[in-house]
């Protein structure tokens, strides 16, 4: 046991903080600068954006899995601090993870791009920080840009965010200016954590990673008490207990410590096999001396977007099973269960936090686990009240109820907040209406800017909504949303038939209004992607027995080379070998060969 005064002293030198920002406002670059300034890494080792370690993160410039780091910092007065920078994912798909990270902090750096100014996620992030009563330090980044307009941004901070713009710090994370001032402001303005090391342990799990040697590495913030190797710890959400093997701080790698004490942020290893055994937001306590109640705010993360994953070659199913199991070790948010399709064989129905999450899973399965997969058209969860009084929630069109039994169909809506310069008002309203938006409301946070608040069906925003918004507003529009319950909707099930045979993997639940254009689009895309056969192929979109769209693939009329002598045989055979290989990658539906890219081509609804 440490003497009491040492515990206090330790606590007063700790600061726990996050950086919150709209996407692309420079959060990762600033994080890297702080790490570099604290001396954890030399200039020559300084790779761009140390915290974003996954390829996909680097390519897309976004943080998917957050990583936390403890920065030792000594100011000019010679006072030493332990600054825990808790990284947060930067996409709306991961807003719950963000909230748990913020719950582990006492303050945040609210980063605003000097050229872009305040955007929708800046505001959403600010609200989230305010909910947790955090100290907010506004930081204006990218002041080196020619387009930087510091006065305008200060005005926005004042008016739109209601913060004191005089307190805003200026920096250029790219050039490394203002970094010292930021670290000093963290020590001076953000309060030290409060907590009682002698109370029963409460530690908040805000992240978890999988390590193939050590099992799950839990990232946690200790509020009260202390945890040491050898302790029997308990997860309060499910009562499971584990023996703590190691605790420590996150430097660039893990640094073991004898204990994690109240106020500290660090990691904990306890032989937890998969990250799914831990839950973000769960409270860790000691089995021998449990806390009376868990920390507030825990909830189970629920997937909102669903799609089935199938191997391109049915033989690869066992490999897919293994890849998913491995992948799942590190992604607690992915849920999946067995699914099967007449067209695609055995596979899995998967639930994702959003379309970005889906795409990350898809890319990682393909790149890191070498899987060739087909994903079916994404769906949200629809609710059907049945005439017999029951109701069902369905995300898989295969389980669409018998239409005569449906009393009422409902689909999930979101409340979307879209922040734009007022000149884009017309275009954005058209987009919202086109996406079946209702109840638009407007606020004018600052002159020249409009916030459009609009109810939109979730199904309409999971596809390219944000991209479309960015395009029509030339990059100035920003967007955030919250789920806002179910509303009655005129839903139907759209089937795609190929020569009269329904391809179950292409069915979807969709609003009646949207069904015809979508059916037509699918018919045309399949016409492009399905090769010609010896016979005519009819592709049809159907609602029940009614055909609403069709296209036709003509048969081969002639396919034969005129000459075939000694010099032609090898070339001919090689072509045949190539065609044979191509055929193996096809899915047979009846007697029709459908290539993988036909399934891929219908995945997105937008014209590409």
């Amino acid at each position: 046991m440490l003497p009491a005064d040492l515990k206090r002293r330790t606590m007063t030198s700790i600061r726990n903080f996050s950086i919150i920002a709209h996407i692309d406002h420079g959060k990762s670059t600033l994080s890297d600068r702080l790490i570099q300034y604290a001396g954890l890494v030399e200039e020559r080792e300084f790779r761009d954006q140390i915290l974003d370690t996954m390829d996909i993160e680097r390519e897309r410039g976004i943080t998917i899995k957050s990583q936390t780091v403890s920065l030792p910092y000594t100011n000019d007065q010679g006072e030493s601090y332990e600054l825990n920078l808790i990284d947060t994912p930067g996409h709306v798909d991961f807003s719950y993870e963000v909230s748990r990270a913020l719950a582990s902090c006492e303050g945040v750096l609210l980063l605003v791009d000097a050229a872009q100014g305040v955007e929708a996620q800046t505001i959403a992030n600010l609200y989230a920080a305010l909910e947790h009563d955090l100290t907010i330090i506004p930081v204006i980044n990218k002041i080196d840009l020619p387009a930087a307009d510091i006065d305008r941004v200060k005005e926005q901070i004042e008016i739109e965010l209601g913060l004191d713009s005089e307190s805003a710090l200026l920096c250029s994370a790219k050039e490394g200016t203002g970094t010292g001032e930021i670290l000093d402001a963290v020590t001076l303005r953000i309060p030290a954590p409060k907590g009682d090391p002698d109370k029963p342990l409460t530690a908040l799990t805000f992240d978890a990673h999988y390590d193939s040697f050590r099992g799950t590495i839990v990232s946690c913030r200790v509020f009260d008490g202390a945890v040491r190797p050898g302790d029997a710890m308990r997860l309060m959400s499910n009562g499971r207990t584990y023996r703590v093997e190691e605790v420590g701080l996150f430097r660039l790698s893990r640094e073991p410590r004898p204990a994690l004490l109240a106020g500290e942020v660090g990691y904990l290893i306890a032989g937890i096999k998969t990250v799914s055994d831990t839950r973000i937001g769960d409270t860790i306590t000691l089995d021998s001396d449990p806390a009376p109640a868990p920390l507030p705010g825990f909830k189970e993360v629920k997937p909102v977007v669903f799609s089935s994953i199938y191997p391109v070659a049915s033989d690869d199913y066992p490999a897919l099973v293994e890849a998913l199991e491995k992948y799942k070790l590190n992604d607690a948010a992915l849920v999946y269960q067995k699914d099967s399709s007449a067209a695609l064989g055995q596979g899995f129905r998967c639930g994702f936090l959003g379309l970005l999450h889906l795409e990350i899973v898809q890319e990682r399965l393909e790149r890191e686990y070498n899987q060739s997969i087909i994903m079916t058209i994404p769906s949200v969860q629809y609710r059907f009240s049945l005439k017999d009084g029951g109701s069902v929630v369905i995300d898989n069109p295969q389980y669409y109820p018998d239409p005569v039994m449906i009393d009422k169909a409902e689909e999930p809506f979101v409340k979307a907040s879209i922040l734009i310069p007022d000149r884009y008002m017309g275009a954005v309203m058209n987009l919202c209406l086109d996406r079946r938006g209702v109840n638009p409301q407007y606020t004018y946070p600052t002159p020249g800017r409009i916030e459009v608040i609009c109810d939109l069906p979730l199904a309409e925003i999971i596809y390219e909504f944000y991209d479309k918004l960015k395009t029509i507003t030339q990059g100035y529009g920003s967007f955030d949303y919250d789920l806002a319950g179910y509303r009655e909707s005129d839903l139907i099930k759209l089937d795609i038939l190929v020569n009269g045979e329904r391809i179950d993997a292409l069915s979807m639940m969709i609003h009646r209004e949207r069904s015809r254009p979508r059916a037509l689009q699918i018919c045309n895309r399949l016409k492009e992607e399905i090769p010609r056969h010896m016979f005519k192929i009819a592709i049809q979109g159907a609602i029940g027995g009614t055909i609403i769209a069709r296209s036709t693939i003509p048969p081969f009329r002639k396919d034969v080379t005129a000459k075939c002598y000694g010099g032609d045989v090898t070339r001919k055979r090689k072509l045949l070998e190539k065609q044979k290989k191509g055929k193996k990658r096809m899915k047979m539906v009846g007697s029709i060969e459908i290539p993988q890219k036909a399934f891929v081509s219908v995945f997105h609804s937008e014209e590409t």
Binding site: M534, F535, F556, R557, K558, D559, V560, T561, A562, K563, C564, Y565, G566, G567, V569, T570, K572, R573, L576, E577, Q579, K580, K583, S591
Partner: protein, 376 residues
């Protein structure tokens, strides 16, 4: 033991010289004849390198290029060399590919003396406009005279080559050519639909947008009309592009059959392909390289391949389905998908069963490049 070793082999000799290059042709040839003597020596050396490997042949085919560019004397040397180095069956088919404007009564007489018993004449068209388009150096009149001479030469077998499906050719125009050519009673007709091959002038013209292919529907109609017309005139459509006058025996080109039946063949001369058992090899597409290798006592081989059992089956399937010989049903059963595919193809009329063999119909010939893939 490979069963092909029991089949008699064919000998092909590629004569790589042309006076001018035809606009559609992608066979190897050069337009300078200055190396002819050197090439003839090299050919004799090449033949010598194979005397131990190929014991006897029952067909000889002199193709090209333009074999009739050789003088009677050169032709004599060549034939003498081949007959001296290899054994030929008594009833061997000995074919000379000929250009209409090279044919004279004397030349034909010499050829007969040399042992040729079959002429394959490159008529291509009986319309001068077509011939000009193709870049041929002869006229329809010359073709007619040549056919007359051959008919009267006493050479027992005589075939002609025709090309159809030219961009400016009408269906009627083609039928006229066909009718005119048939009037000379050839006993073998090869009708090749014009193919725009990479590396030819016509290909360049297509790339430049000057000509465009006819399109599947017209190509198909021309193919069907050709087959119908020739069948009416007493020809059997025995391979996609080949027709033989009916009779006992059928007047097929026995040499060409070897390619489709995967019988062994030896190809001498630049760019020639050879095949035996599971081996295939091919010579340099260069007279200079060819002569140089042989001068140094090396076989002038540019490349080779050893076929796996699977590759051999693949070739058998695709080649057999180009001819009326078809493929034994028993052999098709070996393919996983045949249970499903075969009945469909029979029902749709692409194949028919003749004596336990699946044989392509006229409609089947039209999609002969698709058929094998369906079983794979």
């Amino acid at each position: 033991m490979k069963k092909t070793e029991n089949q008699p082999a064919g000998l092909y000799v590629h004569i790589p010289f042309c006076r001018v290059k035809c606009l559609y042709c992608d066979f190897y040839s050069i337009t300078s004849t200055s190396a002819t003597a050197e090439w003839l020596r090299a050919l004799d050396q090449e033949a010598a390198l194979y005397t131990d490997r190929f014991s006897s042949f029952d067909t000889l085919y002199l193709g090209g290029g333009t074999p009739t560019l050789l003088t009677e004397k050169e032709l004599g040397h060549l034939v003498e060399s081949l007959f001296g180095r290899f054994c030929f069956a008594r009833d061997a088919e000995v074919t000379l590919e000929a250009n209409p404007d090279d044919i004279t009564a004397e030349k034909l007489h010499t050829c007969k003396e040399l042992g040729f018993n079959r002429i394959s004449l490159g008529v291509q068209s009986m319309d001068d406009r077509d011939l000009r388009f193709l870049g041929r150096r002869h006229t329809a009149g010359q073709a007619a005279r040549a056919m007359d001479l051959i008919r009267n030469s006493g050479l027992s077998r005589f075939g002609i080559d025709l090309i159809y499906g030219l961009p400016a050719q009408t269906g009627t125009g083609w039928k006229k050519t066909l009718r005119k050519a048939l009037a000379f009673s050839p006993d073998h007709v090869s009708c090749y639909q014009l193919t725009l091959s990479r590396g030819t002038r016509l290909w360049e013209m297509q790339e430049g947008g000057l000509i465009s292919p006819l399109g599947e529907e017209r190509e198909r109609n021309l193919f069907l009309a050709t087959s119908e017309t020739l069948e009416e005139h007493g020809f059997a459509h025995y391979e996609v592009s080949n027709y033989a006058r009916r009779g006992e025996p059928l007047h097929v080109c026995r040499h060409n059959l070897k390619y489709w039946e995967r019988a062994p063949y030896l190809g001498l001369g630049p760019s020639a392909h050879s095949f035996r058992g599971n081996l295939r090899w091919w010579n340099h597409r260069s007279v200079a390289q060819y002569c140089q290798d042989l001068d140094q006592g090396r076989r002038p081989i540019h490349g080779n391949e050893r076929l796996s059992e699977e590759q051999a089956s693949l070739e058998r399937l695709s080649l057999r389905l180009r001819t009326k010989a078809g493929i034994p049903i028993r052999e098709l059963r070996g393919y996983e998908d045949s249970e499903r595919v075969l009945p469909g193809l029979l029902r749709a009329g692409y194949l028919e069963v003749i004596e336990e063999r699946a044989v392509p119909t006229r409609e089947g010939f039209l999609v002969a490049d698709r058929l094998p893939l369906l079983f794979l």
